[in-house]
Symmetry: D3
Subunit: 126 residues, 6 copies
């Protein structure tokens, strides 16, 4: 049997190493098992699957999080994750702009503002 | 000034030629301008943009439509569209399965059932 | 104390008389109190309030139901209701088209298809 | 290491035995791993947890599915599941009515219609 | 005829006494009738109904608010309310974790962070 | 061919002049084309259409934004916009209260709090 937790940690480290630590730290007192589930199911089971490359997986996730709304912390993490697995900034922006078509302009504008925040953090701007 | 309608039609023909005709036919008596807007804005403006390839755009759209829910006709069209621009069936399935993580299992199961319907239509099965 | 149920019935009769009867009939065996709540709260309390005319209230409701999704029976009733309190068909269509901006094109296209169904029923077409 | 699949199957059998078989059958050709994930994560990991009894878990699920919308197959299964683990019909109805407060009347009315369909199936009525 | 307002206030006092006062205070200048409706319909009509105990009602509400998203003030109030009517902290946490299955991980993680905030407030921690 | 950008700017100036400038400023470095799309499609194409007056369009938009959730910046802008094109404060409040019926009380209460913030800004109160 595969050790899903180790597999998940390995994928999390590849995609968003800082986010991974922050999430675990945040959940450890109140719901450590939810932290474990995040490692095991999304990252140990789903992102490990063949059939779709990690870059495409991050594009799908950014699209969904933008469209769903009220997902700012996760969208920030996955924008960083997308950049870590090979997306460039323009690709991230294009996915978010495209959501204006499917989820309406407020979601797209909100998503772009979140991307701006992430890019500014990376560039050391406040 | 670019002729957005012609650009949009060209992109629609490339992505989902049948869906394009059916949508126009369907809207022509009640809201022909909504049909025109679909051609001009999503397909004439957004899908025409450089910076993200069509295959990635369809992955983003399938992710969003699966996550949003109550979008069956559009999801069917975009699954066909994804296949038309270079996705294989496994990639479509992977995007939808991944939505279990971000939008919950009911959306993912619903999406897989819609994909099954599309694949069966293509294969001439009921 | 105001008799909210009678007030609600009076407003329901004005806005969508057939829908009112169908809803009550439908709920009477399984959850008659939900039917009563529909009469009392939305129609006895809210639609009775001064400060916004019934036509504007129906415009607000059509906008919200289109945007929310998975509300077909209610959207059908309120399209009929809007026509009953003074909206014309073009106004109904415009509200729904506008939702492409705020909730995305799939919701708007879905709403237009529902409006088409209602108009065809009224015109005696299948 | 715990065998999550066996644990999940055991819980699925307890909660909704027919639904379990139908879901697996439905997914087996197109996305068997999604079927496996349903067994392992929701039923093997989550429903197995101590700290909340199965009846309360089904109440939570019915509330969420009613509120989310476009979840009819899952809501039908979980209404049956709730009855299988000790809820009575009135409790199911009360949870759904309560959703009028948090997710609006259209979701509650839709949920009640789905409950009616389930109760009629159980009672052998069409 | 029952005095719904008094009934509602009584239930609100039982479930979340502080939240009740804060909500009324907040709405009194701009929309006092919305405050009155909150007392009368959810608390005077719905929570007063027999057929489902208050603890189960709060479990249903926490599930729905977590799944819906963008409901932080209400979720905070109902987590306190759940504790006031007999849920323990673990039960609250379990309901929220379970929402990962039905509404996706971002909603569950967001809900857990809100629960953490509530528990810290109760414990006098910042 | 109509110059959609100029038409859009003209409508934006009429509806919410300050919001228009702030949005463009905000998007100009990261996604200027999204800013252009906002001018051209919603304001150049949709709000320019005959068949529904601007006041009714703003009522529809406030209803939808309140119902959708997680749209605070847009809802603030459109509350100001509604006042600019002829709605009075009571009409804005009524539309938002009505959303309790269709999208649940949390969305309505959240919307009223946002309206309060807008009215206080206009009145020079903090």
């Amino acid at each position: 049997m595969v050790d899903r937790y180790s597999t998940g940690l390995k994928n999390l480290e590849k995609i968003h190493p800082e986010a991974s630590k922050a999430l675990m730290e945040n959940l450890k007192d109140i719901a450590p098992d939810l932290g474990r589930f995040v490692v095991e199911f999304p990252y140990g089971d789903v992102y490990e699957r063949p059939g779709l490359d990690l870059k495409s997986r991050e594009i799908a996730t950014i699209a969904a999080l933008t469209a769903i709304g009220d997902t700012k912390p996760e969208l920030k993490d996955h924008i960083k994750g997308a950049l870590n697995v090979g997306c460039n900034r323009q690709e991230v922006i294009e996915v978010i702009i495209q959501m204006a078509v499917y989820a309406g302009f407020p979601r797209a504008i909100n998503g772009i503002n979140i991307a701006k925040e992430v890019f500014n953090e990376i560039d050391g701007k406040k």
